[in-house]
Each structure stands twice: as C-alpha cells, then as structure tokens.
C-alpha cells in the first residue's frame, strides 16, 4: 500500500492548489469542493446540487475539468488543483476568458460562473487535443484539433447549468477567446 493507507477514517493529503503546496489531514468523507470552500476558504467554487448534476463546482485537476462535489479529497494525493481563483495565474490580470465574460456580460447572478469558467478552460484544451463531442461529425479525422462552432461549444458546456439562462452570452464569450 502507498502512504495514503491508514487504518482510521482520515489521512494526510498533499495537494498543490492554485500553485501553492497544501498538506491537510482530511476526513475520508471530505469531497474536494468542501475542502476548498471550508478548509482553504476558496469560496469561488460553488455548490449547486452536490450530486454531479449542475457543474457549479467544476475545477481543474491536473488540467482536466472535474466535478469537485463527487471527488473524495483523499483520492487526490499529489494532484494539482486549479480553481477559479487561480485561473489568472500569479499576475493581477484575469484569464482572457474571465475578461471575455465581463465584456460580454455573460452572467446574471454569477453563481454558475466559476464553474462555467473552469469548465470552458478545460473544454478548450480537450478540443485542442482532438477530443470529439456528441455533435462532432463522426467522419471528421480522428486525433486532429476540433474547430469549435456554436453547436460544439453548447454541447461541450452542457455539464454547466445556468438558472439565469445566460447561455447565449456565455457562448459568445467563449467564441471571443477562440478567435
């Protein structure tokens, strides 16, 4: 067994969160979302449904977008986590996608926005790596980057619900960073 094996109901976990090393003794029941919000005071990631059904809790783990409400923190030992607070990196400047959301007014209440941003950043990397989606032409050549039209953006971001219905502007903001 690796060092993560401990007989009790909690374990020590090492993470890098937004570039900073973090070591915590976590209860095995702790999901990443609660760890971020309650233990690290990073309240950007939101809890909408707590069951994988809304995307408000989306963060990047080792560069891949995941629902942090369904990820047990203890399973993530050694991982690199990026939340909405870390999208812009170390600098003062927001991530270009955050800038585009502001320019396009791509939110109303803003509750879904951190999840939309992290999801879109992860999604852009997937398309660049040649990952197809449900609406990609099956005859398109495998492995080459997928061009993102509106249908592609909508389908690929379908895991992020917006109760305010800001979808049209969210799609426009994503289009802005692709161009």
């Amino acid at each position: 067994m690796t060092s993560a094996h401990q007989p009790g109901h909690h374990s020590e976990v090492h993470l890098r969160v937004n570039g900073k090393p973090v070591t915590l003794d976590v209860d095995h029941r702790r999901v990443l979302l609660d760890l971020l919000r309650e233990d690290l005071d990073l309240t950007g990631s939101k809890k909408g449904c707590d069951h994988g059904q809304c995307g408000a809790c989306t963060v990047l783990v080792d560069g891949r977008r995941l629902n942090s409400c369904l990820l047990l923190a203890v399973t993530l030992d050694g991982s690199e986590v990026t939340t909405v607070e870390g999208l812009g990196g170390d600098g003062e400047e927001p991530h270009p996608l955050q800038r585009a959301f502001l320019d396009r007014d791509a939110f109303q209440c803003g509750y879904c926005t951190p999840g939309q941003l992290c999801s879109a950043v992860g999604m852009l990397a997937e398309a660049a790596a040649g990952h197809p989606s449900h609406v990609t032409d099956p005859a398109a050549p495998s492995g080459s980057p997928v061009a993102l039209d509106r249908a592609e953006i909508r389908e690929r971001l379908s895991g992020n619900l917006c109760r305010c219905g800001a979808y049209p502007r969210i799609v426009e903001a994503v289009e802005d960073v692709i161009e």
């Binding site: 067994m1 994988g52 999801s119 099956p138 379908s158």
Partner: protein, 331 residues
C-alpha cells in the same frame, strides 16, 4: 455518511486481497456514481478500495485485431481514442452521448458498466425498493415509471440500466475481463448484467470481490459500420429514454452481419436477437428493417406510463439501420 477506511492498492492482486480482508468494502474508481450514492445513504461501505489509479489505464492492440481497454481508462479518453473512433464508432458515440464532459473525465470503463439504476425510488431511502431493500416492494411499478423498463422486467423490479456505453459494447460483442479470488475469467457484455427476476438487488453476474480489469473489443466487429443514437428529454446531459446501437455490414445488397442492442428499455442492454435472426441474409432495405424490428418489440410489455418507449425505440432503430445501409446501387 459514516466514516470509512481508505486503501489505495498498487496492483490487481493487492486490490482483490484488500477487498477480501475488509468485509463491507467497495471498490472506488471515478466515484461519480458511488460517492453520489454514499451521499444519499444508499451505499454505505465500511472501506473504500481505490482502484482508480491501478495501472489499468491503457488501450492496447492485440495481434488478432482485437483491442483491450483497461478498466480505469476514463470515458473521455476512450471516446477520443482514434482506434475506437475508426473501428468501433458506436462505442465512441455512445460514450459521448452520456453524462457531461466533466463526468466523462472522471468516469471509468469499469465503473460505467457497474453504475446503478437511476430509479428515483432506489435513490430515496424513504421509499420502498426491492433493489435497495429486498422485500420492501417496488415503488415504481404502480408509481412514477415513465423512465422504466418495457422489456424483461419482473414483478419485483422494473428498473433500467442507465449506461450508454454498455449498450454499444453489447452490440459490438465486447467481453468483460474479471479477476477475483477464484482467478481470471471473461463474460460477454450481453451476459454480464442480469434481468431483475426475483433478485433485483443483484445487477450483474459478478462474484463477490471480483474486480473488472478490462474490456475486450473483438476483431469480429472491428471496422464493421456501427452507430449509436439516443433519445432523451433534453438535447444533452440526460439519461436515455431509449437508445440503440447497431452494427451492420451489407454485401451485394444482403445483410451479411448485424447486431442491434437497445438501451433504456430493460435492466440490461437488450440485444434484439429476433431482429438479428430475421435480418441476416435478408435484402437490406426499409421493409426488412421494419419487419425485423417489429418482431423484437412485439415482446415489449409497457407499464401504465411508458408505452411511448416502444415506438420511440422502433424509430431510433429504423433510423440507424437506414443510415448504416448503403444506398442501393444505381440510385
């Protein structure tokens, strides 16, 4: 949620041994179903054996033209694999029709096969459900069952299996590779999930403590035209009301190879053997397709509120068969 021990074995044997040593344990992979059910109180493991990082995350070609997919390959990576997209397109399409980008990044091949039903009574501790609490009754049979089974259900349970991936695997004649206390064995995906019968609490024919180590995509369906289509209540991010995977090869206008599997209709992916028997050797065209699909769906026994699934499944099957059949020469 009660507390639980957490173990992260580094190999298959170690995982199986850990399971045997911890009564009440469960394997954990992507966690997208198990953690959800633990939050709901439906699953209450005393120990989690994390198999998500076992070295089963590769997709390997075999000399005989088959491909082995490791149990921890993520759904998004499997759907994007060029070999899968080119040779078994129905599998890639089925994966991409399921869940969301985030969930597919976490969900594994093994976990997807073993995800539990989405029946709302199963997920609600306050309701009767023979699958969750054997003998408590089936809330859905006379209750809310629009999403439930029309084929192969029993007095005890009318649930459907929710996986899209499994439906494609069933049509593609894939096999599940297992390893457990009694050694290694393989089961065809078509014989992997059970019908509910009198024991709806058992979803599959797996033995206690067995681990899924991988899935084999056979050479017999490699490169044969295949496709998947799913109908759901919204355009994306919703489970199937009905779905179909079709494998179809036509030679000189005659059906030379065919497999049809329905999703969303039964407790397991439903291979339409009557349809397949009727089509093999028949001229590939709308009349033969219609007759053959009707033969299978004649066995449907819809519940009060889900009869709509029968024509829905029929239309999906006819559409996909029609698309996969080459246009007759000279047209």
């Amino acid at each position: 949620m009660n507390g639980f021990a957490y173990l992260r074995p580094t190999g298959v044997q170690e995982a199986v041994d850990a399971y045997a040593a911890h009564p009440g344990a469960a394997y954990l992979a992507g966690g997208t179903n198990l953690v959800d059910l633990m939050k709901l109180g439906v699953a209450r493991p005393t120990a989690l054996i994390d198999v998500g990082r076992l070295p089963l995350d590769t997709i390997e070609e075999r000399p005989d033209g088959s491909v082995r997919v490791g149990a921890t390959v993520r759904n998004s990576d499997l759907a994007a694999d060029p070999r899968v997209r080119d040779r078994w397109p129905a599998l890639s399409q089925a994966l991409l029709a399921g869940a969301s980008g985030q969930l597919r990044n976490a969900a594994t091949t093994g976990g997807n096969l073993l995800q539990r039903t989405r029946c709302p009574y199963f997920q609600d501790l306050g309701k009767p459900c023979n699958k969750r609490a054997p003998g408590s009754g089936c809330g859905a049979r006379e209750g809310v069952h629009r999403d439930h089974a029309v084929l192969g259900h029993s007095e005890q349970c009318v649930a459907t299996h929710p996986s899209d991936m499994a439906v494609a695997l069933a049509a593609l004649d894939a096999q599940v590779e297992l390893y457990g206390p009694e050694g290694a064995r393989k089961l065809p995906v078509t014989d992997f999930h059970r019908l509910p019968g009198e024991h709806p609490e058992r979803d599959t024919w797996m033995r206690p403590g067995e681990l899924i180590t991988g899935v084999l995509l056979p050479a017999t369906t490699a490169g044969v035209p295949s496709a998947y289509r799913k109908a759901r209540d919204r355009a994306s991010y919703a489970f199937a009301l009905a779905s179909v995977a079709v494998v179809l090869r036509v030679a000189d206008g005659v059906v030379d190879q065919v497999a049809v599997a329905f999703g969303g209709l039964a407790h397991r992916p439903w291979r339409a053997r009557h349809t397949e028997l009727a089509l093999l050797g028949a001229p590939a065209g709308p009349a033969a397709f219609e007759g053959a699909v009707a033969l299978e769906l004649a066995h449907a026994e819809p519940l009060r509120d889900n009869a709509f699934k029968v024509p829905l499944a029929r239309n999906l099957a006819l559409d996909v068969l029609g698309r996969l059949a080459p246009a007759p020469a000279g047209v």
